[in-house]
Subunit: 385 residues, 2 copies
């Protein structure tokens, strides 16, 4: 807790930031409203907001039709389009690129299928093409981007590399940060997909009210992302949440119960088998229900370990299987009751397979914010890594 001394200029910086925080994510606001929100006096807010307008961080909205008595107030709006960030999900089967403004509004979203067998070079080339397409549509250049966050499967270390256990072929040799740094001058971040999805779920998803969250990315692979006390926990080596690696936790084999369920039509695509089983279970098929129960039982051990270790408020069931949460959540709850001391809330994700890219956007925005907090806000320009 090393508090450091403050002087006047730093104080002004902080007050200016508090105005930005009060402006952002709100309707265009009058000076009086901002003064209330930021806890400052009206004159102080006035001059602060003037300099924000002069620097390009905010813009004035001249008063229009106003049904209230008295002189109509000018309203100030945060210029969310002063900068943009990219959130990118590099999945096994797809690439998802999201372009967002500084308020987190999505400007463009682009989805491209990916070859599951592609080597890192090919995969990164596909990512490059997708990014180019998004920038082209938005009429932007890499210099307009303030931060980029990439999501990949497998644990990611501090340098953005995936050392151990990734289902992306050859990915342990890839250095995605270096690859993107060649094109983007701004900060570049790589993060594990489960962690990003957890972040998204707290930002725009089903757990926005909770500070302690265990997020399950359930699909053909199972993973977890942890948010404790409102912030993402990466672990010392970036490998937090990898409980699936424990042999007693059968997350690796759990989806097998679904894929090997008797009765799956031979016509079903490899990725569709699980969906078929869930639907069959929903329709009352006996064998399918057994398969789901077995899957849930294997899943529950790992979830219980996380719940007992962390005592979260909410467990979010997300990932590709979350569309079938209606047949999973109840048996999962029953299994957890057997294992746990205190049962957390169980919720199904609503963000579907966009959660990873969305979480990447949020992390990129956090990066921008932390730059603002440490460097203060001069004119809005892209920070350099």
């Amino acid at each position: 807790m090393a508090t450091t001394g403050t002087d006047l200029s730093r104080m002004r910086e902080m007050n200016q930031l508090s105005i930005v925080w009060a402006l952002r994510g709100n309707q265009p606001s009058t000076v009086t409203e901002l003064a209330g929100r930021a806890g400052l006096s009206r004159p102080a807010v006035d001059v602060l907001v003037q300099t924000l307008v002069a620097d390009g961080w905010a813009e004035v909205e001249e008063p229009g039709a106003n049904s209230v008595v008295g002189r109509p107030a000018r309203r100030f709006r945060f210029r969310a389009d002063a900068g943009h960030v990219l959130g990118i999900d590099i999945g096994v089967h797809k690439i998802l690129v999201m372009l967002s403004d500084l308020e987190g509004n999505l400007v463009h979203t682009l989805r491209r299928p990916a070859d599951p067998e592609a080597d890192p070079r090919t995969r990164l080339a596909a990512v490059d093409r997708a990014i180019d397409e998004v920038l082209r549509r938005a009429g932007m250049t890499p210099a307009d981007i303030w931060a980029v966050t990439l999501g990949v499967t497998g644990p990611v270390d501090a340098s953005g590399r995936t050392i151990i256990s990734t289902p992306l072929p050859g990915w342990t040799a890839a250095d995605p940060v270096a690859h993107l740094a060649a094109r983007f001058p701004c900060p570049i971040q790589v993060e594990n997909d489960c962690k990003l999805a957890a972040v998204a779920e707290r930002w725009k998803g089903v757990a926005s009210d909770a500070d302690d969250i265990v997020f399950l990315l359930a699909g053909l692979r199972t993973g977890a992302g942890l948010i404790l006390d409102g912030t993402l926990r990466r672990g010392h080596g970036g490998a937090a949440g990898e409980i699936g690696a424990l042999k007693a936790v059968r997350w690796l084999s759990a989806p097998g119960h679904l894929e090997n369920c008797p009765g799956i039509p031979a016509t079903a695509a490899p990725g569709e088998a699980a969906a078929w089983v869930f639907q069959a279970a929903r329709d009352g098929d006996r064998q399918a229900k057994t398969a789901v129960r077995r899957y849930t039982r294997d899943l529950a051990v790992g979830v219980a370990a996380l719940v007992l270790a962390l005592d979260p408020q909410v467990v979010v069931y997300g990932g590709g299987f979350s569309r079938s949460a209606d047949v999973v959540l109840e048996p999962l709850r029953q299994e957890l009751t057997k294992h746990c001391l205190r049962l957390p809330e169980l919720r199904a994700s609503t963000l579907g397979d966009e959660s990873v890219a969305l979480g990447a956007v949020r992390l990129a925005l956090d990066e921008v914010d932390s730059r603002l907090l440490s460097d203060g806000l001069a004119a809005p320009t892209a920070p350099t890594a």
Copy 2:
């Protein structure tokens, strides 16, 4: 991230606090040194430190023999004895009371045996007597105490009550906060013993360099305390770290391997059996070594679950068994290698059975600090709950 506006007086408060922070835990310091540490100018520090002296937070040390060239500087010292806190460990077999000044120096420590079968009323009465004795020796009254933290076994909720699973007979009905609040006007806190021991280990123990710590309280009971990103994680319901409740994790039965080891002399006291086995294993006894290996194997599953879930930097082996860490750590390391992706450092606690009370002191001091941060520092007086 709701930044709030600042004005001059708040700024002064913060700078004053930064001087206190720079003063505390250091040798008596000159104004110039403080200015460097706090990042303020010399004149500014001078007037701040003057008011600190006037308020009773600091005292001057007139310059004595000084071998350096130039005018000798006055030195200022934090008045650590301006206030005191109590850290109390209510164990099954013992009660340990620590009285500490504001710098964390222990003024008095008192250990009293406790009846394992005592009901809560009797136990709390014994605690009262121990507290009275400590206060008497220090010549203090309850009004001189600024914060009290109690450590108990079993998970503790936000109100300081232990709802589930405690080895203290009848304790679920006890309300220790209410009991102590009748005597102490200051803030009172109750916390789980494993969590407190973890805090102590990061404060004065073997993990002071780490921010992500899994602490094991190993004894006839096994428990865990978690420190992530440098702060204690309680979990949403205060039950974080209770991985031992999982059936696949055999922490409940693990110490049984030691107690049921053949060859234990009948003369050994019930609590001494384990120590005998550890010693025998150290001496090369075949059966004892097998017992230790079995114990370690059961222990390792739970540790591996925590390590995989959290990816800590350090695992600290503490509690009553930590004296025998030399025969446990190596087999534990081998077991963990089988389970984990990334092996954290393994360290043996050096605080022994004082860690819980010491952690309680640290938490009480944190309480005092957070009061200072939020309320600022007027004259040093005991805060009221």
